[in-house]
Symmetry: C2
Subunit: 392 residues, 2 copies
């Protein structure tokens, strides 16, 4: 029988980490103690003030559809947030509340990508980003980047790559998996270049807020002519609520509205009402103390990995990941991750989930668990490395 699958499904690889996750769960069922450092989800619960807002809304019993673009009062709060956090004025008519950053990507790319269009992005990068492009028959052009550019694209790289098929450029800062930021000047030049070329600039800002000791500018500080993707998942601690937002350039407002009506109907109502409380002063204080905790973990993990002999040539300034070079220990980081899980019960993510450039030499460690557990994981890692050394 001929395959009935759409061709795009064979272009999209499953996440390798899912295999690890499955094995980790099996081991847990067998009673093993597994330390989870593979997960891109904060260990902190949703802040109480947000939960309480959700409960209050639920108690009204009114959980009907909202407008496709989101509750007007939430769009306003997001606009206000850009004013206070970045000193940027955003017309709330450009802001679409979406089912997570996933929904924001879906909307932005459905509105802008024609079959064959090329979108340029960094390798390594978050795999869903390139898969969303494939979903709409576009091509993700991934350019190898390394520590010399903070694992980020540069205007020079983009310029060299630009062809008549290039539709736009995607930059994620802080980046997943590397946690690194693009330099503000470089960021500005990239946006200006894309605008000069008449392309679309997509700025993945879902780790904004989780930045340690630096300022991560929004693309909107440099130009109104950008798609900005953000989320309540990471900084605001609302992963399972599936709520994020998309800011579109003016020429895309009408199309995004139509598409949102058709693709989503609307973002989950309860999540929108709960998110109204996310910007409360008291909540932002709570989030800042969590950020401080992440910063401590980042420093601890960074130093521990260096001490064990991993190379981390660009110190990550944001997100909750460290992308460490493990070439000293293995030529196959996926195998390393599987064996480490099996032997020591620590789950980490192999580089191949994020691209192909030196992917086999890299591992992503997520510091989404307590400092005590991270310390324990590092002891187990040391043990694992020493055992392997003695074997070899």
């Amino acid at each position: 029988m001929l395959s009935r699958l759409a061709n795009r499904t064979s272009d999209i690889a499953p996440f390798f980490v899912m295999e690890l996750l499955g094995r980790a769960k099996q081991l847990e069922m067998q009673g093993r103690d597994i330390i989870h450092m593979e997960i891109g989800e904060p260990d902190f619960a949703t802040p109480q003030i947000v939960v309480d807002a959700g409960i209050r809304r639920l108690q009204t019993g009114d959980i009907k559809y909202t407008p496709a673009a989101g509750l007007p009062e939430l769009r306003q709060k997001i606009a206000d947030y850009y004013q206070t956090r970045y000193a940027v004025t955003v017309d709330k008519g450009r802001i679409f509340v979406t089912p997570g950053a996933s929904g924001a990507f879906l909307l932005a790319l459905a509105a802008s990508v024609n079959p064959g269009d090329e979108i340029v992005m960094a390798d390594p990068c978050y795999p869903c980003n390139s898969n969303f492009i494939k979903l709409f028959e576009g091509k993700a052009i991934t350019l190898p980047v390394d520590a010399t550019t903070n694992y980020q694209l540069t205007a020079e790289l983009i310029k060299r790559q630009w062809t008549p098929s290039t539709k736009g450029v995607l930059i994620a800062s802080p980046s997943n998996p590397t946690g690194t930021l693009i330099e503000p000047d470089e960021f500005k030049q990239c946006i200006e270049l894309v605008n000069e070329c008449g392309g679309c600039f997509y700025s993945d800002e879902i780790y904004h807020g989780l930045v340690y000791g630096k300022h991560a500018p929004t693309a909107l500080e440099y130009s109104d002519n950008a798609f900005v993707i953000n989320s309540f998942s990471k900084y605001f601690g609302m992963t399972g609520w599936r709520i994020g937002w998309l800011i579109v350039p003016y020429d895309f407002v009408e199309a995004a509205e139509k598409l949102a009506q058709n693709i989503f109907i609307a973002t989950p109502t309860l999540s929108q009402y709960a998110a109204l409380a996310a910007f409360d002063e008291q909540n932002l204080e709570e989030l800042e103390s969590r950020r401080a905790e992440f910063a401590v973990r980042r420093d601890f993990l960074y130093n521990a990995l260096l001490q064990l002999g991993f190379e981390i040539p660009a110190k990550p300034d944001g997100a909750f990941y460290i992308y460490a070079n493990c070439a000293k220990f293995t030529k196959d980081s996926y195998e390393f991750a599987l064996e480490f899980l099996e032997a020591e019960g620590v789950a980490i993510t192999p580089g191949i989930d994020f691209g192909s450039f030196k992917a086999n030499e890299h591992l992503r460690f997520a510091y989404t668990t307590s400092i005590g557990r991270i310390a324990e994981a590092m002891q187990r890692l040391e043990q694992f490395i020493n055992k392997n050394k003695n074997k070899g």
Copy 2:
């Protein structure tokens, strides 16, 4: 400046009803009393037992990501529901919990539609269904249908239409906007025909449960080889929660899993926990009493419209819509709807939102408001018609 919009955005029309809705809101702000019969959303609140389950979950504070395919216990409950309601055994590995039926369509079509693929469906039909196909560069082939076939496709129609470009067939029963069911024998023949042709069969069953005096079979009663789209929105009264499900044929399980990971990450966690309570015996009793209320409204509205001179050649057996022929009163049902709203403050949906076949001669009335309000709307409609008669 050249348009940067993806071409698909011009193939997707905004819903005309949105203009009506906008005007209705303006009029309400001016203090006018508007009766809403344009909305495809039950007026009933989410059942208390489901709300309570949501509150209990919220109180745990644990609203993290779930597996991409959904909570295993919810997938099991959905499988059990097919056993008790339809006496059909469904492997829960084929069941994907999705962000509404919207998410289910997105997943099913992303997994199966290649650019240029044709999907056959009825005209009139729910506009999002054809728009989802355009999203993936497929073509929606809409076949005019009328009351002689209950506004449904037939095996004969499909056979005549089938070409090498035909990828599959979509049948929605009960249908939106007509509320009509496909005859079980015809349904079976359609599915068998599509299977013989090696195509994909998509069964939109989102109004299942809201059927009055008949049984609406699921496609799975006839074949395992079908996509079934369903939702907690309509029958279960959970619109704003954005939760539905998709059942895929075996050959699509792996692709659907990959795509769900990439497109959604997961369905809103809280909605999934709340939905666990939706199948409780006590809740199903509540839903049955709501269904009885809908049946009373259907009969009342049906008789009232006939009495006013509208033609409804196929009495609707399900959903909460009546698709009435208004050719006797107007040649432009959109204008009729706008003027009726303006003059009498009743909002209804014009036929052009559902296709092009005799769309200008039809209006959709949703009985998603109380019987008292429906009666009031019918009085206003009579008044409107009489005034227009006197003008003419």
